[in-house]
Each structure stands twice: as C-alpha cells, then as structure tokens.
C-alpha cells in the first residue's frame, strides 16, 4: 500500500510560550501526523504531540463506540490498537487523536470526528492546555476531555485531583477552543494526503 504521506515533522523541543489563564491563539504543542504507515491493517496513523490501562482502554473504546456508526457493519469487530512510542504528557489525549485519525484512515463511517484535549490546573488556578509530563505531575488537577467535531459536545471526560465547578467550566471552554485547532489540523492533513494521491 503506497501513500505513506509524511507531514513535515519538525518537533520543537518544548519551547512554546506558556499560555495565560485564557491562552490566546493556539497554546497546544506542535503536532505531526503520519497516516497509512503500516501496510497490513486497513488503516493506521501515528500521532506525535509534544515531547495507564484497562481504564484508559475503556475510555477510548467508549468514545469510539459513541461516534462510530456500528449499525452499518453488523457482526463486525473493529479493533483499534494503540502503541505508545513515547510519552511526554497528555498521553490519553494523544491516544484519542491517534484513534480518530486511524478510524478515518480506515474509512470507518463515523457520525463525527473527535479529539482529545488535556488541561492542567496548578495550585494558583492557572490553566495550562496540553501539559508536559512534568507539568502534569506538579498540577493540582489534570482534566482530559474528548470533544466531538459537530457541536464540541463533551464525549468523554476523566479527571485527576480536586477542582471547583467554575474551574471545570473554564477548562471545558478552553478545551472547546483548542479543539478547533485540532480539527483544523485533521482537515489540513487529510487534504494534503488526498490532494497528492
């Protein structure tokens, strides 16, 4: 199978500006994606984003189940295999993004795309999107959300630590804004892939 399109993968070594409480612009780390890199499976993708197990599996599976139109493929099993190449924080969000891109690459019919965004709250309430492993460890709370592409509704959420209701709404709003960037990236990378082949 040809078509292993390599998107430019200049990985900035974690030197992005720290976002303020409501980070303007894109405060997510640089990401790159490569699709169709394995020949045997129907679809595959590798998702690099910046420099946990039955529970995590279940979260990813349930998120996929919510968007995949399973009724169109009865008596079929769709297996999503995720292999962690390196973990530099925000692992679950990266896994969700990879799973979505792989499902798109495989041509599985879905009712929406989804993306994962991680927020960290440190001790004085500052919001950080897409934290590194160090920031996650030092944070007071780490919230991971999966949002859908149609209405930015919350598909999945898992949180660690203590936080207030107002902080939750703040994180959710920030995640919804950040998800626009991720969805734009999906669209651009797919456009690049299909325009060349």
């Amino acid at each position: 199978m040809e078509g292993a399109m390599q998107t430019e993968s200049k990985i900035r070594a974690d030197s992005r500006t720290e976002p303020g409480p409501r980070g303007p612009g894109c405060s997510l780390r640089h990401f790159a994606c490569e699709q169709n890199l394995l020949s045997r499976p129907d679809g595959s993708a590798s998702f690099l984003q910046g420099v946990a197990e039955k529970s995590r599996e279940r979260l990813i599976r349930n998120t996929c189940e919510a968007v995949v139109l399973g009724a169109l493929h009865p008596r079929t099993s769709i297996t999503v295999v995720l292999q962690v190449v390196s973990d530099a924080g925000s692992l679950l969000a990266c896994c969700l993004n990879a799973a979505c891109m792989a499902l798109v690459d495989a041509g599985v019919p879905m009712r929406a795309l989804f993306c994962g965004v991680t927020c960290a709250l440190d001790s004085d309430g500052t919001l950080m999107l897409d934290p590194t492993a160090k920031q996650e460890k030092e944070a007071r709370a780490v919230l991971t959300f999966a949002l859908d592409s149609v209405e930015r509704k919350l598909l999945m959420s898992t949180t660690k630590g203590l936080y207030s209701d107002a902080e939750l709404q703040q994180c959710l709003a920030a995640a919804q804004t950040a998800s626009t960037h991720v969805f734009r990236f999906y669209r651009e990378s797919l456009q690049r892939r299909y325009s060349k082949s």
């Binding site: 279940r58 996929c64 919510a66 509704k153 999945m156 898992t158 949180t159 936080y163 939750l168």
Partner: protein
C-alpha cells in the same frame, strides 16, 4: 406479549415523555437509600448500603505493612470491588472482569483525589511500619448505579473504622498492639458520587437502574465533596453533553451531597458510643 420485553426503549420513551420513569420516580429522583454501619464483627470497619435494589457491602481490614520507599511516611488504602455472579447474571466467576476493574480504579481515584484520609495518618513508624487498609466492596445485588453505592459504602465504612493504638517497643523493635485503646480515623472530606444516564443524547436521568443503564446512550458520574469541589468527573464515552447540561448535573450533585450527608449524620449519631 409484553411490550416492555419486545421494545424496551419505546416503552421507556413513553414514560420519559411524561417526565417520569416506570418505577414511578421523577427524572431527578434517587431511589430509597439505606445504610447500615458496623454489622461485620470481624472487620475493623464495615457498612452496607442499599440504593433501591442495588446492595453493596464494604468491609475494611487494617493490617501492617512497610511504607512505600518513595513515601516513607504514608500508609496504603487498597480498594477492591468484587462483582460476582451472585449479584447479576452478567458476571462469571474467576478473575475480575472489566467492569469490576474499572470500578476498583474509580474508587481508588476517588480516594486519591478527594484526600478522604491523609495517608500520613496511617503511618506508625516512618520508613518501617504503616497501616494498610484493605477495603473490600462486594456487590450483593446489581441493579444499576454501582459506583454511587460503592462510594457511599466506602465512606460509611471508613468512618466506622477503629484502629488500635500501636507502639514500637524500643528494645525489641516489635510493634505492640493495644486492642483496648482504639480510635477512629480522621475523615477529612466526604465525597459523594451522583450518577446520571443519558437517553437519546439529550435527556439526563439520575440514579439509573440496570435496565436504564443498558438502554442509555451514555453515563456520567460526578463525585463532589462538601465544599462543592469535584474529585472526579467520570464520563467514559457515550453521547455528547453541552456545558449547560453539565451545569445541571453539578447542581443535582450538590443536592445529593446534602441528602447523603444528612443520612450519614443520622446513622452515626444513632450509634451508641463504645
């Protein structure tokens, strides 16, 4: 013969249209909650919680253990949720299935995030000896909403735990346990879980029964402590929710916390001091 068996979802939709459920509850109403504390004599702390038909029993045993090397002044709290064929036809005997593992992980996260007890309180001698609290949550009847029942059972059992006084004999370096002098644990927060099921991507109902969980398109569990702080927002996939719907869930969780706290205070007040 029975419309309910043939078309369960349609059957439910007819009730939901009238803003109620087949068992007569409103959409935001919990089932009758009962709690019984201290019934297991062999455990250091125990509780039995019933949420309608869902029954969970929690037994806590305290044993000695060496503290972890990276945290020498902390003890352990080890939860384990057991879902056996006894409680529902869905489970088989053998190693814990996925639902049991996820529930155990959820309880472990709640303990960790809410800081319900300070792990430093469990330390007897820094680096050498600490208490390990094994919390076994056994489901006796699974009729939905297992997470709420387990969280409540754990909280009630922890409040019931009495640990004997332990002194380290300096000459023999052995621990001496004084069973006559027992003290309760210092429970710092009271996390209470409120679970919701999402129907048809829009309607939220509280405290789903097993049948409702099956028909639902998504579930959400909110764990809140008394100050309104969230320890856990567990939404394992399922249909999407807007921010406004989440806000409604939060307000319901706050009310539920008050109900549960009141019930627990009554129970502990009625227990005779030993």
């Amino acid at each position: 013969m029975s419309f309910r068996t043939v078309e369960p979802l349609e059957y439910y939709r007819r009730f939901l249209k009238e803003n109620c459920r087949p068992d007569g509850r409103e959409l935001g109403e919990f089932r009758t909650t009962t709690v019984n504390v201290g019934s297991i004599g062999t455990a250091d702390g125990s509780s039995l919680v019933k949420l309608g038909n869902t029954t969970v029993i929690c037994g806590i045993k305290a044993e000695f253990g060496a503290p972890p090397t990276d945290a020498p002044d902390k003890g352990y709290v080890v939860p384990n949720v057991d879902l056996s064929p006894l409680c529902s036809w869905r489970f088989r005997s053998g190693p814990p299935g996925e639902e049991a593992q996820v529930a155990s992980q959820f309880i472990a996260d709640v303990i960790e995030n809410s800081q319900i007890i300070q792990k430093e309180d469990l330390c007897i001698s820094s680096g050498k000896l600490a208490w390990v609290l094994y919390c076994d949550l056994i489901c006796l009847n699974h009729d939905g909403n297992i997470l709420d029942a387990c969280t409540f059972a754990l909280l009630a059992a922890l409040k019931n735990v009495q640990l004997p006084e332990v002194t380290i004999n300096e000459e023999t370096a052995l621990a001496e346990v004084n069973l006559k002098k027992k003290s309760y644990l210092n429970i710092r927060t009271h996390p209470v879980a409120t679970s919701f099921a999402v129907f048809d991507d829009t309607l939220l109902i509280v405290d789903p029964t097993e049948e409702e969980e099956h028909l639902a398109t998504g579930t959400l569990t909110v764990v809140m402590d008394e100050e309104g702080k969230l320890c856990c927002l567990h939404k394992p996939g399922g249909s999407g929710l807007t921010g406004a719907k989440l806000q409604d869930c939060m307000s319901r969780a706050v009310t539920r916390h008050k109900e549960v706290k009141k019930l627990m205070d009554e129970v502990f007040k009625s227990m005779k001091p030993k």
